[in-house]
């Protein structure tokens, strides 16, 4: 049996016309001798009646002060994919192809117990195989599974896989079924060298490595989830990103071995960040303060970007939507240090101190035992975005940073911070300059010719 897993995202199943196009892709695979296994996302995107966000809003709007339990959020969210599989299976039947809708649990997707961001621990594909053996097309709910109880004796709760969960479902099923390929269908022709909103003629990459596709997603491109690429890489399954709405061959994701590296692959952007730089006359106290700030950011699950350390300061960027939480955690935070002479730091977020900071300072000055009261000011740079050049092995060439700086500074784009890894160079720039920065770097590194 030649199995191929075909995953269709929300826009590919948004309406009957789109579903029919998607179903014809599946029919074509059958006619070409494949036994397709279909994975679908919920119907449509945010704002549409059965989209994941819409379903979530139904719960959260009941009472904003009473957060829904993760278990019930997962139950709710699963409904979107269940409806989608039933409708898609019906669409296939209307074309004359027998199909069976299956939940993630029915398809044997077993996860850990982390509601909202579960990890797939194993796949028990026998029921999917039974459907295939009967000559039917399994249409499986993406994004969901069922957890195994702690002692492994029974199957417990419905879980969801978190961001990009349907891609992960597709790759995982392909791995378990030893599929010949996994195809991720979306509304663009494949992985582009840049966001077409900023570079309208950005070409589609015909081939890229698993590492590149994972990094391009890590740095903000919304093409395929890195977890899906990781699974495909681990099991050596050919992965394709294609459009439901065209016959373009799309992007093939291949192993890195023997691949021509030393090239720039794409320019991505991760929007809406705020940069915080912590400054104080730290002296030997810097490590203690850094440790406390990092500890709190970890405890409250704040995503840090572009961590940056200097002898007299340290800083990082956080998503703008997390800034209120960060302020709540850090503004007015009191860090007493008792080794040697007692001294106490008060963290102030933003140049202008809040009433909270002033009140803390006033109170501490009136108390004994806290020693000298010092301020650690976290200077905020708001409205930033991170623009990244994805370039496997390319960064080892001398002069890459020079080219990035010359290109952006020459266009009067302020570089607020930088970060790099073996796969990418990132610059933090004002959000208003994001589009220009993407387009300029795309041109500087000749990505238009990069396919």
């Amino acid at each position: 049996m030649r199995i191929k897993v075909m995953k269709f995202g929300g826009t590919s199943v948004a309406d009957q016309e789109s579903r029919m196009l998607a179903a014809r892709k599946v029919a074509e695979a059958v006619e070409n001798g494949f036994s397709p296994v279909v994975v679908v996302s919920a119907i449509g995107r945010a704002g549409m009646p059965y989209a994941t966000d819409t379903l979530l809003n139904l719960l959260t709007e009941v009472d904003p002060l009473v957060p829904p339990e993760p278990r019930e959020v997962d139950l709710m969210l699963c409904c979107g994919e269940i409806m989608s599989t039933c409708v898609f299976a019906q669409t296939l039947k209307s074309l004359g192809y027998p199909a069976s809708a299956m939940t993630g649990g029915q398809a044997g997707i077993i996860t850990d117990e982390t509601h909202g961001n579960a990890r797939i621990v194993e796949i028990q594909p026998h029921d999917v195989l039974k459907v295939l053996e009967k000559g039917r097309i399994p249409v499986v709910c993406g994004f969901q599974g069922r957890s195994l109880s702690k002692d492994g004796s029974s199957y417990g709760e419905i879980t969801t896989l978190g961001r990009g969960g349907s891609d992960t479902t597709a790759s995982a099923l392909a791995a378990a079924l030893a599929a010949e390929a996994v195809e991720i269908y979306t509304d663009v022709d494949g992985v582009k060298t840049a966001d077409p909103d900023f570079v309208p003629d950005a070409p589609t990459l015909r081939q890229m490595t698993y590492d590149e596709v994972a990094e391009i997603a890590h740095q903000g491109a919304k093409v395929i989830h890195p977890r899906a690429a990781e699974i495909a890489m681990k099991f050596g399954i050919p992965l394709f990103v294609r459009s439901t709405f065209s016959d373009d061959p799309g992007t093939e994701v291949v192993p890195g071995e023997g691949f021509e590296h030393r090239r720039a692959t794409g320019v991505t952007h991760t929007g809406k960040l705020v940069y915080l730089e912590f400054e104080a006359a730290f002296g030997p106290d810097k490590a203690a303060l850094e440790s406390k700030v990092y500890e709190l950011m970890a405890d409250y699950r704040i995503n840090l970007f572009m961590l940056n350390v200097h002898p007299h300061s340290f800083g990082f960027a956080v998503p703008r939507k997390q800034l209120p939480r960060v302020k709540e955690i850090l503004d007015g935070l009191v860090i007493p240090l008792v080794d040697g002479e007692p001294r106490t730091y008060i963290v102030q977020v933003g140049r202008a101190g809040s009433p909270e900071v002033a009140a803390q300072e006033q109170m501490l000055k009136g108390l004994s035992g806290f020693g000298e009261i010092r301020k650690c000011v976290a200077r905020l740079t708001e409205n930033c975005t991170m623009v990244s050049l994805i370039a496997h092995e390319f960064l080892q060439q001398p002069g890459i940073y020079y080219r990035v700086f010359e290109c952006l500074l020459g266009a009067n784009i302020n570089i607020l911070q930088t970060s790099d890894s073996p796969l990418s160079i990132s610059v933090l720039v004002p959000e208003n300059d994001c589009g220009r920065a993407v387009a300029l770097l795309h041109e500087e590194f000749d990505l238009a010719s990069q396919t």
Binding site: I120, A178, A298, L304, Y402, Q417, P422
Partner: protein, 159 residues
Amino acid sequence: MTDRTSIETARGISGVEVSLGHALVVVSGLSEEAWGQRMLEALGALKDADHSIDFLKVSSSGFSFVVPESQASSARDALCAAGFDAVVKEGRAILIVRAPNIRDESGLVARIAQLVVRSGATIEQVGDMHSSVQVVVEAAKVERAASVLRDCIGMVEIL
């Protein structure tokens, strides 16, 4: 085709490696007014001297970067010849902390940083990619930091 397949890498830290033989170069004394021009001159000097640099981090008064230890003097000389005040800190190591899909694990980068600082090492720079976080520390303290992080391999409770 298997009936039961181990699929995903466990969340959290999945491995720790150490790379020795690096140096941190710190450049100070840049004026804020001419910052952009001076940065270009410095990066140009490094390019002309054929130096590839990693972990570039900027501040309003300077910048720092990492090069292989064997190239540190040459990089400093190139910067000094171009009129920059550069200091080399030799004996640096890079901790490579494997952690798949770190963007999905909110707080994990911060936890790794906290563990490194708590181990007694001073973080000098940090970089990240989809599957790892790289931390520059003094080589003398890298094994202790690596040991603390290795103790956390496979610990879902790290967050």
